[in-house]
């Protein structure tokens, strides 16, 4: 729903008119309740990255690389925040053309103590959006974990957020390319998850496999960390999804509910699938299922109802399980922590099913007047395809350039000894 507020909402009619929009159409003034919720939501989304993702991924690597994951997370988060101030916010949400915003808001110029965005301060809107720009490149870590040079990681994510994230964000929420298509992406299924997942897959392919993969055992060293991470992602995601309403209202409430329901259902679906296929339901599976469910409900969260949430959760859990357990093996790439398998695939499942379950037939908020389920699904798929194409091409080019300039991978001995010591000079003891 971000774009509706961000561009005073002209594209969706009838069934999708929510209270927030009613507000948006009067001369909006600051609402302390909406502001209270959005500051909180911002904190919740940051919690997803720090320490959420750091732990979710950190627990899955070998012990010798856990600090490198944590360091990459915090360093990327910081770099993205600063770049967002410098230019990112402006490129995504500033006035510009269909492809990208301009530099009018660079260094947050014009964003002051009393600038509003809808019923909340623009500072809050911009910081909320900043946390999205922070988490997206961190998601990609999962694909290149345990083998990429720290300098290359920083260069890559820094360029990527400006060259790939900002434009796609502009297309969907900033009034760009998809603005008139009626693409339904409530909280960033396409912008964040498909985008990060595809970028991850390209990274995995360009970097190649970890030494010893898949012969040597590469077991997650501490799934307690992964569980903490998954739990914080889950809790923080309420900020991500219900916060994307930019108000504390009925749509935010429904986003809260369906987020919880889809996630729970995805945990059960993944666990049951795992039990049936491999004989045991595992904690790693349950955590993966939770994230898959969260990813899939993201685009749908303000559009569907509880029944849709159950369906989307079940589909996401089962399909992502298959993608991780079979597809990766079949194709043989080394997406270390399944950034593509969970975020890419889960994002696509969610984006497509949003087109289905937003329909009032399934208790959703309803499609726009004159839009059939099939045509909505088509629109959704179009947005996915565009995103994949642009993201994959741009990511590939960026990686190749960085490879020529500083190199992408650490040397063999460093990879064996672990990045904690070799890249950062520290390690976890005992």
């Amino acid at each position: 729903m971000k774009k509706m507020i961000a561009k005073t909402a002209t594209l969706l009619s009838g069934a999708l008119l929510m209270p927030a929009m009613a507000f948006a159409e009067e001369a909006p003034k600051l609402d302390s309740g909406d502001t209270a919720w959005m500051i909180t939501a911002t904190a919740l989304v940051l919690l997803m990255t720090l320490p959420g993702l750091a732990l979710f991924y950190g627990g899955m690597v070998r012990k010798k690389n856990v600090l490198s994951i944590c360091m990459q997370t915090i360093a990327i988060a910081s770099l993205m925040s600063v770049l967002w101030v410098v230019a990112g916010y402006s490129l995504a949400f500033g006035e510009g053309n269909a492809f990208i915003g301009g530099l009018g808001k660079a260094f947050f110029s014009g964003v002051g103590y009393d600038t509003l965005s809808g019923t909340i301060p623009e500072t809050v809107f911009a910081t909320f959006q900043m946390t999205f720009a922070v988490i997206t490149p961190v998601l990609i870590i999962g694909a290149f974990a345990e083998r990429m040079k720290f300098s290359a990681v920083m260069l890559f994510t820094g360029i990527w957020v400006l060259a790939v994230y900002a434009p796609i964000c502009h297309w969907v929420w900033g009034g760009g390319l998809f603005a008139d298509d009626g693409v339904l992406d409530f909280a960033g299924g396409t912008v964040v998850h498909i985008n990060a997942g595809v970028a991850g897959l390209v990274c995995a392919l360009v970097l190649g496999k970890r030494i010893g993969y898949p012969k040597e055992p590469m077991m997650p060293h501490n799934l307690v960390l992964t569980m903490i991470g998954a739990a914080l992602l889950w809790v923080g995601w309420f900020g991500f999804n219900a916060g994307s309403e930019l108000a504390a209202d009925g749509t935010a409430g429904m986003a809260l509910l369906v987020t919880q329901v889809a996630t729970a259902m995805a945990v059960l679906a993944w666990s049951v699938a795992e039990k049936m296929v491999f004989g045991k339901a595992s904690l790693l599976g349950a955590c993966s299922g939770a994230v898959a469910g969260l990813v899939a409900i993201t685009p749908a969260s303000g559009f569907v109802g509880p029944i849709g949430a159950l369906a989307i959760g079940a589909a996401a859990g089962a399909i992502c399980f298959c993608s991780v357990a079979f597809m990766k093996k079949a194709f043989g790439y080394d997406d270390s922590l399944d950034a593509f398998g969970v975020h890419g695939v889960g994002g696509m499942v969610g984006a497509v099913l949003t087109g289905v379950f937003a329909s009032s037939t399934f208790g959703g908020a309803g499609l726009a007047d004159g839009v059939s389920m099939a045509s909505q699904v088509f629109v959704q798929i179009k947005a996915i395809v565009f995103t994949i194409a642009y993201c994959a091409a741009a990511t590939f080019v960026i990686l190749k350039v960085i490879d020529m300039v500083v190199g992408l991978r650490v040397d063999e001995e460093a990879e064996r000894e672990g990045l904690d010591i070799t890249s950062h000079g520290e390690q976890v003891l005992g």
């Binding site: 077991m219 491999f278 595992s282 993966s288 991780v324 357990a325 079979f326």
Partner: protein, 112 residues
């Protein structure tokens, strides 16, 4: 003097220690190890990747005693460490030429 190294099941450690002290042993050293033998390990599954972990956690007890105590000590270990199931472990006896107590500098039998 002889060094007796016994690989046992971890949960038997307390019983064995008690029996050894009863048998007059004055000190012992314990190491966490992993063993591979007749007792099979287990399978771990992470997102479809299957790993056979064929080492099982074991505890190694090292105790150095006078040569004349060896049989008695071995006996004490066998008795207290046996569960009757595969994987109960092994005992190895080797010769020790010299023992020194660091604190006092005493050597050999005096040092035990």
């Amino acid at each position: 003097m002889k060094m007796i190294r016994a690989i046992i099941k971890p949960f038997k450690l307390d019983d064995v220690k008690d029996k050894l002290i009863e048998a007059g042993v004055s000190g012992l050293t314990v190491t966490e190890v992993r063993g591979h033998g007749r007792q099979k390990g287990h399978t771990e599954l992470y997102r479809g990747a299957e790993y056979n972990v064929d080492f099982v956690p074991k505890t190694e007890i090292t105790v150095v005693v006078n040569a004349d105590q060896v049989d008695q000590v071995v006996e004490a270990i066998v008795e207290s460490a046996r569960s009757g199931k595969v994987g109960d472990g092994k005992i190895f006896v080797t010769d020790v030429e010299k023992v020194v107590r660091i604190r006092t500098g005493e050597t050999d039998t005096d040092a035990l």
